[in-house]
Symmetry: C2
Subunit: 289 residues, 2 copies
Amino acid sequence: MGTDGRMVDTEFTPRRRGRPASTSPEGGSEVQSLDRAIALLRVLAEADGMSLSDIARTAELPASTVHRLLATLQKRQLVNHDAENGLWTVGLGLFRIGAAYLRIRKLPDIGRPVIRRLLHETDETVNLTMFDGNELVVVGQAEGHSSVRAFFRLGLRLPLHASAAGKCVLAAASPAFRGGLLAQVRYEAFAARTHRTERALMDDVTLTAERGYAVDDEEHTTGMRAVAAAIFNEWREPIGAVSVSGPAVRLTDDRLERLGRRVVAAADQMTRLYSGADETLPPEFATYR
Amino acid sequence: MGTDGRMVDTEFTPRRRGRPASTSPEGGSEVQSLDRAIALLRVLAEADGMSLSDIARTAELPASTVHRLLATLQKRQLVNHDAENGLWTVGLGLFRIGAAYLRIRKLPDIGRPVIRRLLHETDETVNLTMFDGNELVVVGQAEGHSSVRAFFRLGLRLPLHASAAGKCVLAAASPAFRGGLLAQVRYEAFAARTHRTERALMDDVTLTAERGYAVDDEEHTTGMRAVAAAIFNEWREPIGAVSVSGPAVRLTDDRLERLGRRVVAAADQMTRLYSGADETLPPEFATYR
DNA sequence: AGAAATGTTTCCGTAACGTGGAAAAATGTC
DNA sequence: GACATTTTTCCACGTTACGGAAACATTTCT
């Protein structure tokens, strides 16, 4: 309403296009061979070394079919085949791909309930961002009133120097790491109040470190304010941030302060969930930590 | 030679059967659709959220084909499809399967060079075992002289009360955990000298804890002796053991002592490699720890 | 030793199944 | 409102996967 629109589309802003998925009661197209191969992987993942005929029996498929599928999987390193005893096991290639899940989805999946609660308590848009390269990527969100619809859409990349999320990550980073990040900042001007010098940015970051949360006072988009707090991994390295944002007219100074404390609490909770011993997640996560 | 054979085949002893794999110069049968699906997973694992058309362009496949494959992968949870913005990401199912790799293959893969060195230094059969349920499973080995060929083959399960590996794991376990394990021991008699009572076993375990390594003096197989030391994870919980075994006539008391010290050193090294900061392994492993 | 049993790999005729172009459906952009 | 994009469904075609059977090996039984 107050803001005059999309002058600041830093990067592409992907949004649902094309024909929507059928409200499929269920099923649809499926590829038999792929479906069977996945079934084989499931079988293999539960055993530590199986012979071809064991696998074929368990999966209830003819041996020749299983052999063909396993050979393909082996060529791509998704399964190992011990040449000496002929046993098949899950392969490193599968692990490499599977490991990507943690990098990409762990925080969003864990953070969802926290974000949603924050939305209901504050009635403002909540964003979850993850550090990637030298920017922050929006990986989760919960939008408030439909009136001011999502400025920060999933996949959008936020600059370090012109976003609350970026500044709180800078404030939380180790001095050495922060130095490396600052060296790459371009100080692009997104709005009238965007920091234009390292000096100004660092003063803000120092304040942020003392305060515990960062404030974006119309620095990214004119008319928009936001507060953010950093989320950490198990070695207390910042990996992302939670932020609450809304039109400046609604986010007055004293409300900003209350939101700041609330955001810090939410970020702390996510840190504990991310690096710690909590449930709501499948047991596979317990293996790491 | 001295031993009179396979009276103690606790469990199945899988060994290479059937027609051996072709010394394939390369390739062979392969399944196109599966091969393409794997390529898609690789693409997805490198990006954090892609649209269908992006994926199709990257993989150089028609959109309809990609869609069909993704739909199948999604049904099995190997990929996620965000209904709101239509982005595809790697799924939890993929992680669940990939995580099995660590459970099954991490120690064997890491331990291989250590095992091989131990073989060359001692000239006796070396075995790597992992704790599973209430037994130890042979997951890696290096065989000495072909004369006394592998008694403990890959996949063989060793009992806790009648193997050097089992006893050193018992000795290294926490009192509470050890209690739970002991309650399940059946005291099956594998050889004349097998421990038959918890009393006798615990006396041996106490001695093992003091000594640092376990000794199997013809308790599993008459005529065979072995020494073993435990391998630990990052929380100092025993996860397996390395052992050196051979005919009693070759493994005299004083040689056993020297081998014991050597086995402890090897186990320590594997503990460091397994739980620590070493390379020789792809970067994915670094994510955990 | 030889024979029988078990397990793996290759072969190949058959048709089922995956393929991909095109159309339909929906949204963003001009 | 027309045009450009993107996703999803559809469908005729023939490539591709299927699986029985044979060939090949190794272990076990007699």
